[in-house]
Amino acid sequence: MFKYAVWIIFALALLLLPQVFSSLLGISILSQMTIAIVFALSYNMLLGQGGMLSFGHAVYFGLGGFMAVHALLGIEEGDYFFSVTLIPLVGGLFGLLAAIFIGSFSTHKAGTVFAMISLGVGELIAASSLILVSFFGGEAGVSGDRTYGPTFFGYDFAQHLEVYYLAAAWMFVATLAMYLFTQTPAGRMANAVRDNPERAEFIGYSARRVRLISFVMAGFFAGIAGGLFAVNYEILTEQNLNAATSGNVLLMAYIGGLGFFIGPIVGAVVLTLVNSVLSHYTDLWMLYLGIMFVLTVMFLPSGLTGFLMMHRTPWHLGKMHLLVKPYILTAIPGAVFALSLLAMVEMAHSFETELVFLGATLNSDGIMSWTLLMAIALVAYVALRRSLPRLREAWAQANAIDRGDQS
């Protein structure tokens, strides 16, 4: 029962979210999230479930997207006659075709060889996209218009809200399909090949073929994400298939957590939020993103979801209450420390003498502001150093199985 409840709540949330965040910005961020979720989930089919580290996943996203824009143009000129609602499928199928072709030679090996081929193919296609102007449109890209063609029950998708619902519907279906794929024998074998290709071969599976299936499916769903992007933004450029986009999807999946199906969803939501909200307040947001990424890899190797899932044992043991106080005692100095560092970074970057940081007016030329912030940072750091051992102790206690519990 719980399994179905999760999906129903998920669908309801998708339906209701635009009512809560009904501003134009809110809807645009929501649409961006749905696209990012499909893309990040498709990436995790490779890295998380199949153990294939790809540095060129944007290729399938971009190729699918470009094909989708061409399909939009075809509808506009009357060459094809089908509803815009099917455009993501066009992108998906083209992503699938591209993945079959590229996967046929890149999935022989996993590991470094695969990673390098994906990097090479990614650079190859990104560079070719500037040369092959008739398909990729060169620097300017290709743009279309989603409002042509037959209407879908009276909707012509001129409104952003309508596009959101279209994207959300496709995202729901794609997420469900990708989840169900993990439950199929092909999905389970992908895990087996990731963990031990040799053993998988011994029980009669071709590791290469298993990888190819995952790869092709990942290409298909990345293409769907690209198609959704085409419908939402009505333009695709070289930037949508270059290394930066490939890196971004890796970031999303990794920060969210590779080991869990829901991980990339969390990553996509968090990063889209961070990107659009943070870039609103500071032009240093890319720097913060980089710091966040490196810190995640160093301290939370299983990502945000992995961090939450670490609490399963204390939860089942009924010992969560042991962690509450140490968490608060660590989080407060931690947050103060991070914020004071942030304030200093912003002060160093700012050209104006006065800047407002979280309601406080700072003077970036004055010694007072600097000394004060450094003192705060120092105190917070000392407090953090003192509270960390206690947190570690509490963590060990919360995870320990007492004699009484074992019975």
């Binding site: 580290l53 390098m116 040369i131 970031l251 240093l284 890319m286 890899v297 190797p301």
Partner: protein, 316 residues
């Protein structure tokens, strides 16, 4: 024709040897730790920026020594406090870490030095044409670049094969546990190799900065090419890195200097297409146009047909 060939060769040699300075460190680090350092070209960029800032106070020559040392120390610190921590989470985590590091270094450089191109110039002493051939000048600075790169190659080769430290390093590549049991501090060796490798990348940045311009995107421009070289040459092979660097340098240089393309090929075959043919873009490609993608094409071909690279012994 002949003069084009000579200058293309010289320029290819300059680029190739420069690429080798980056590739040698990368391949050494890979063969020791099994980590493909995505941030390697970022250290090259740091070298150029450090040298620019130092040269503002002291001039070029002290910067030539100081900047690579600083980059090397920074690299060693990152290995000690970053990479070593990530090492327990496995290879993917390490790759992803260096990937994030590359991103972070680029942003940090923009934070300190801004987005604009820096006016980092070669020293006045080397600012003269070394020789003039067919009316074209060959700058002395490029000869200096060739000289430094070759000197580094010889020094590296000598240290690795003729000294005690080199022998220990070579042994640590294949048998780290045995070397550890013999009483050598293997993590320390790893840190030192990482430091020297990134220092070499920094040196490449110092001497390339004035020629290839010093801007925040310079790491991205070279980053993936260096990867291509290391893979084509064979992961962990120093000789392979040299051959592949020269190969890529010359290949790109010749392709840019040439003036042939698909139209010539089609003419020769006696085929012609209408201008509105769907593949028109392909029929009108020229070699200089596709020069930037040649290395990647080569990479994909090598990985398909010889995954261990030209000189490599192992695949991953």
């Amino acid at each position: 024709m002949f003069e084009v060939l000579i200058f293309a060769t010289l320029n290819g040699l300059v680029t190739g040897l420069l690429l080798f300075m980056l590739a040698s460190g990368l391949t050494l680090i890979f063969s020791m730790m099994g980590v493909l350092n995505f941030a390697h070209a970022s250290f090259y960029m740091l070298g150029a920026y450090f040298a620019y800032s130092i040269s503002l106070y002291t001039g070029f020559w002290p910067a030539l020594i100081l900047a690579p040392v600083l980059v090397g120390v920074l690299g060693a610190l990152i290995e000690r406090y970053g990479l070593r921590r990530v090492h327990k989470s496995g290879h993917v985590a390490e790759l992803v870490f260096t990937f994030g590091l590359a991103f972070l270094i680029e942003e940090t450089v923009q934070f300190f030095w801004g987005r604009a191109t820096k006016d980092y110039r070669s020293p006045d002493i080397l600012d003269f044409p070394l020789f003039t051939l067919f009316g074209q000048n060959f700058p002395a600075y490029k000869a200096f670049m060739i000289f430094i790169s070759i000197a580094i190659f010889i020094a590296l080769y000598f240290v690795l094969t003729r000294t005690r430290i080199g022998i220990i390093i070579q042994a640590a590549i294949t048998h780290p546990h045995t070397v550890g049991n013999l009483g050598h501090n293997v993590p320390m060796i790893f840190m030192a190799v990482f430091g020297v490798g990134t220092g070499l990348a920094g040196l490449a940045g110092v001497i390339a900065g004035p020629v290839l311009t010093t801007f925040p995107g310079m790491a991205v421009v070279l980053g993936s090419i260096v990867f291509v070289i290391v893979v084509i040459g064979g992961l962990g092979s120093l000789a392979g890195a040299l051959v592949a660097s020269l190969l890529i340098g010359l290949l790109q240089s010749y392709a840019i200097a040439s003036d042939v393309g698909m139209p010539d090929l089609l003419n020769w075959l006696g085929v012609s297409f209408e201008r509105d043919h769907p593949l028109n873009d392909i029929w009108r490609l020229t070699l200089p146009q596709i020069a930037p993608i040649l290395p990647y094409l080569l990479l994909v071909l090598v990985l398909i047909f010889r995954p261990s690279g030209l000189f490599g012994k192992r695949e991953s």
